[in-house]
């Protein structure tokens, strides 16, 4: 109920910004105005959210909502892990960072055996091999690669 109300207010806020955030041209039909689609979507969101809010207010209260919200918040930790990985890959390099990150996160979530940690590093290696070495996806080399000897550096930049 509360989260629905927050969402509703947020949308209402976006709708109140429409005159500042889109341009209304002096000429041209309403359907061709740049602001027409944001307006349609925001009015639609507000309309459905309002009905949803009324429906939620009339429905019986669900207990245990705070435990559920706590679970949502727990996901933020893993979002932070993900962003840390994203931030470090261009610095450390894709292969070394993946080889560090996968066992580290596996350890964090409770896989403490040597077998699982090695397996996670191996899967990380396979992922890098498939995507960077074979499929050649665009992931730049790490800044730390600059400190490697010449031949090794170009090999790492090209493949890992």
């Amino acid at each position: 109920m509360r989260d629905v109300a927050v969402r509703f207010q947020y949308r209402d806020l976006l709708l109140s910004q429409i005159d500042e955030q889109v341009k209304w041209l002096s000429r041209g039909k309403i359907f061709a105005q740049p602001g027409f689609w944001p307006a349609v979507s925001l009015v639609g969101m507000t309309f459905f959210a309002l009905l949803h809010l009324i429906g939620s207010a009339l429905s019986p209260r669900i207990h245990g909502r705070m435990a559920e919200v706590a679970l949502w918040l727990r996901s933020l930790e893993y979002a932070a892990w993900f962003l840390l990985y994203v931030w470090l890959v261009p610095i450390v390099g894709y292969l070394p960072m993946t080889l560090i990150f996968m066992p580290l996160l596996s350890f964090r979530i409770g896989y403490r055996s040597k077998k699982m940690l090695l397996l996670s590093a191996f899967i990380g290696f396979l992922i890098v091999l498939v995507f960077k070495s074979f499929l050649e996806v665009k992931i730049p080399g790490g800044q730390l690669y600059e400190y490697l000897p010449d031949a090794m550096r170009s090999f790492m930049l090209l493949n890992f």
């Binding site: 944001p38 925001l42 459905f48 992931i139």
Partner: protein, 503 residues
């Protein structure tokens, strides 16, 4: 004949065939591992396919799309856990059959029914091709706008019991698609003077966040589970023979799958629901449904496997994706400047035919693969779910970061990942957001393009096709409102009866 030869020429290349093989076999595994699914895999692989030729990238993704539901039936039948969401109905009858000691029979029937559904769907697609080639050019801006609008309306009303939330999320999708520079006059919309918002929010970033990262977060925060299943003894060919007994149910269910796949915004769930209801009502043993009915299993599996090929019809003929997976494939077309729509049917029919034949081949490949490798797959799917979360998280990075090496994109994807987790936990649908983004963009461009020929709103429906689509939209809305009123009255009557009984 020339078209067929051209299609075979496009298809019979080692890179295309390898892509098809990897996609088909990989799709079976992806479908069989509970917690992954075709949407997650396609979202991750999408940017990697941009560097491949369109036919190679598309056959890879088509392979995954077309084969994941085959794989999803394995854990649904053997461990009561659907591999993909659309295999949920398979657990109703598949798992009770396993408990009765008929796991092998259930698997064999499921594979055979899936195969039949897939093949019927591709045959329909091939037979429809000349008709589509004739009809597709009749779709101008107004007709495509109306068809996209129908897609939005259907995706909202297809989520029965969640219509308000689906409407809200579809409008949210339309809104996030409108952020950034608009495509005609290039004015800024909802950028709040932030440079990172000026180029808009990329569809693939949203897809990866909502499908892949949200799934990774979900697996990481929930309790660890390791799927375990007993191996299956004996051959799996008997189902092909047994399917003949249920040919009526399998045929009708495949028909529902084709029909529902063709209609944008509807998809597998409605097709399964209609097929299952039909099989239940027309069965001589209705009491078996939900307790291990082979007919129920056949209805569910034939229907869901008939959808992928049929879902390609609105995508290829009109450029309108009917659900999330075809929306993802649309971006592969756009990246390679192959624009699906009437022109594709007129100018590149051999390319379209090559995709159809690829679908046909993949069904045969998957059936043969499954007949011999089910026990092997069972060993591989026993991955602890939280560990799977780590793998998906690392794979998602490849998908998002390789797009344009942007940390901002990754942060946006992580934000949508958390949002997707909340939606999944609340049991709210994600697909309306994606379809809102894709169809919203199509609607805006087509509406503005048609403005030159439209003087009054009535001009939108002064041509036969747009008038028919408009009629269908009105009919869908009226039928829905009627259904809601009926449901409300029934509910009210039940309460009154309960009150009278209590008195």
């Amino acid at each position: 004949m020339d078209v067929f030869i051209g299609a075979m020429d496009t298809l019979l290349r080692w890179d295309v065939l390898i892509a098809l093989l990897i996609g088909s076999v990989g799709g079976v595994f992806i479908g069989a591992i509970p917690g992954v699914g075709a949407a997650v895999a396609i979202a991750i692989l999408l940017p990697a396919t941009f560097s491949l030729e369109p036919i190679v990238g598309l056959t890879l993704l088509l392979g995954i799309y077309g084969s994941s539901m085959y794989g999803g039936s394995i854990p649904a039948i053997l461990i009561n856990t659907p591999g993909t969401a659309v295999n949920a109905l398979t657990t109703y009858d598949g798992y009770p059959m396993t408990k009765r000691g008929e796991g092998r029979r259930a698997l064999s029937l499921a594979y055979s029914a899936s195969f039949l559904g897939g093949i019927i769907s591709v045959i329909c697609l091939i037979l429809f091709a000349p008709v589509l080639a004739l009809v597709a050019p009749l779709f101008g801006s107004r007709e495509i706008f109306m068809a996209a609008l129908l897609g939005i309306v259907l995706v909202i009303f297809a989520h029965r019991g969640q219509v308000l939330a689906a409407g809200m999320l579809a409008c949210f999708g339309i809104f996030i698609n409108s952020i950034g520079l608009e495509p005609i006059k290039y004015t800024k919309r909802y950028t709040f003077d932030q440079s990172w918002l000026a180029s808009g929010i990329d569809l693939i970033v949203v897809i990866l966040g909502l499908f892949a990262l949200s799934q990774a977060f979900l697996l990481l925060v929930e309790k660890d589970r390791t799927p375990k299943a007993m191996p299956v003894d004996g051959g799996l060919f008997q189902g092909l023979k047994e399917l003949w007994i249920y040919k009526r149910v399998a045929g009708v269910a495949s028909g529902f799958g084709v029909l529902m796949g063709m209609i944008p915004g509807v998809g597998e769930f409605t097709a399964q629901f209609m097929s299952y209801t039909y099989a239940h009502k027309s069965s001589n043993n209705p009491e078996l449904f939900g307790n291990g009915s082979p007919e129920g299993l056949v209805a569910s599996e034939s229907a869901n496997n008939a959808v992928p090929a049929a879902a390609m019809i609105p995508l290829l003929a009109l450029g309108i994706p009917g659900e999330a997976l075809t929306a993802m494939m649309l971006s592969v077309f756009y990246v390679h400047s192959v624009i699906p729509g009437p022109q594709l049917f007129q100018n590149q029919m051999d390319f379209v035919m090559a995709l159809y034949i690829a679908l046909l081949i993949l069904n045969v490949m998957v059936l043969i693969f499954l007949m011999f490798s089910t026990n092997w797959i069972l060993k591989i799917i026993q991955i602890p779910t939280r560990f799977l979360g780590v793998v998906i998280l690392v794979l998602s990075f490849v998908g998002v970061y390789s797009l344009r090496n942007s940390i901002t994109d990754c942060a946006i994807a992580a934000g949508f990942g958390v949002f997707g987790l909340v939606l999944k936990r609340l049991n709210l649908p994600i697909v309306p957001i994606i379809l809102g983004m894709v169809l919203g963009g199509i609607m805006e461009v087509k509406l503005r393009a048609s403005m030159a020929r439209v003087k009054t709103p009535l001009d939108f429906i002064d041509r036969p096709i747009s008038a028919i689509i408009f009629g269908i939209i009105v009919l869908v809305i009226v039928l829905h409102i009627r259904g809601v009123i009926k449901e409300y009255r029934g509910h009210k009557q039940q309460i009154e009866e309960a009150r009278n009984d209590a008195d």
